[in-house]
Symmetry: C2
Subunit: 219 residues, 2 copies
C-alpha cells in the first residue's frame, strides 16, 4: 500500500514562505517513489510579504500562509489544523524563511522563538507515534525547538551561528555537506541542508531526494 | 562551454502565473544537464490574482508578473525587456495560466489574442536566429500565435478545442501523450503537454525532462 506523506508548507517563496524549489523537488521525489502526498499549511497570516525582486519587505501588504502555499500545491492542500497525525505515515517540512517566520518565529527570536500551535501539535503527535519526520534547509529549527528535550540530531549545514542556536534549543547539531543528509536513527528524523548551502538547484535536489528516500525507508 | 538557456516565467502559480512545478522541473533538468540558466519575465501587471485555495479571482488585488516570478527564481531574474536573444542559446516557456493570461491573452480571446510586446520581440529574435524554443503545457499557444505563418508543429496534449484554436492561429497541432514531447525539427520547436494532461507531478516531469534534453540537443 502506498505510504501517505504530509508535506507541510509555509507559504510560497524563499524569503517569506516555503522555498519553492525544495517543495517541488520533495513532491516530485515522493511521487516518483509511489507515495501518496497530502500538502498542508497553517491557516495564518504570513509574518510579512517580501518583494522577491528587490528583497525588501512590502509595506502594508498581507498574505495568508495557506492561500499562498496553495500555489505550490495547485490548490490541493488542507489546513494543517485539520490534519490528524493518524492519517499519514510520515511528514516532510521544506525550508525557506517561511519555516522560520511562519511555522515558528526563529528568524526573529532564535532560540527564544515560539512555534505555531498547529505545527507544534502535529509534530508532537507524529513524533509520539514514532512516525518519521524530514526537515529541509532551516526547517530543522522547528524540530530542535519542539523536540529539544530529546536532543534530536539534525543538520542545518555548516553555519556556526545557526548550529549554535540549534544546540541552545536542545538539538544536537551535526555538520553536513549540501548533497547529503543527517539521519537520527533513534528518533526517525532526517535533515538536509538544501539552500542553507546550495549554490545551485541540483545540489539541493540531491540532498532532498536522499531525504525523501530515507524518510520512506523509516515508514 | 555551457549552453545558456532563458526560462521565461509568467508569474508564480498555475491559475494566474507560471505553473510552479513545470518551472522548477525545467530549472532542475537544465542545471543537471550543465546548462547556465537566465530567468526572465515581462515587467507588467498580472491579468488578475487568483486565490489558489478557492480558485476565485481576488477582487481588487494586483501583482506584478516579474516580481512574482522572482519567487520561483529566488530573486535571480531579469526584466524580459532587457534580455537580448543574442545573449542566450535557447529559451523555454513553462506553462500555467500565466502563459495564456500574462504572456498573451489567449485565455480571454483565444485565436484573437494579443501577445505581450517583449515576449513577441524575444521569441521572434530567437526564432530568426534559428535558436531552439521549448513550450510547455498551454504555452505553445504563444508559438502558434507568433509563428503561425510558418505553421509550427506543436502539441497542447489532446484537448480538441484548444488544438482547434492552435490550428486557427496557423499552428499544426499534433496529439501527444503526457510523458512525451512533440518536436518540430525544421523550426527547432519542442513542446510537451505537462499539466494540460498530467494527473501527477511525475507525469509532467517525464515530458519536461525530455523537452529540456531535446532543446539542448538543438543548441
Amino acid at each position: 500500500m502506498a505510504k501517505k506523506v504530509a508535506v507541510v508548507l509555509s507559504g510560497c517563496g524563499v524569503y517569506d514562505g516555503a522555498e519553492i524549489h525544495e517543495a517541488v523537488i520533495t513532491l516530485l521525489a515522493l511521487d516518483r517513489a509511489g507515495a501518496e502526498i497530502v500538502c498542508a499549511a497553517p491557516n495564518v497570516e504570513q509574518a510579512h510579504v517580501v518583494n522577491h525582486l528587490t528583497g525588501d519587505a512590502a509595506a502594508g501588504e498581507g498574505r495568508n500562509v495557506l492561500v499562498e502555499a496553495a500555489r505550490i500545491a495547485r490548490g490541493a492542500i488542507v489546513d494543517l489544523a485539520k490534519l490528524d497525525a493518524k492519517s499519514v505515515d510520515a511528514a516532510i517540512f521544506p525550508g525557506g524563511y517561511g519555516a522560520a517566520k511562519n511555522l515558528c518565529t526563529w528568524a526573529f527570536k532564535q532560540d527564544g522563538c515560539e512555534v505555531n500551535a498547529e505545527v507544534a501539535r502535529f509534530v508532537r503527535e507524529m513524533h509520539a507515534a514514532r512516525k518519521p519526520l524530514g526537515f529541509e534547509c532551516i526547517a530543522p529549527v522547528v524540530a530542535a525547538k519542539l523536540l529539544g528535550p530529546e536532543h534530536p540530531q539534525v543538520t542545518i549545514g555548516t553555519d556556526a551561528a545557526t548550529a549554535a542556536s540549534v544546540e541552545k534549543m536542545g538539538g544536537k547539531h551535526v555538520a553536513c555537506q549540501v548533497r547529503e543528509i543527517a539521519v537520527d536513527q533513534d528518533r526517525r528524523i532526517v535533515t538536509t541542508p538544501a539552500y542553507m548551502l546550495a549554490g545551485r538547484i541540483s545540489e539541493a535536489a540531491d540532498g532532498i531526494e536522499k531525504l525523501v528516500k530515507a524518510v520512506l525507508e523509516f515508514c
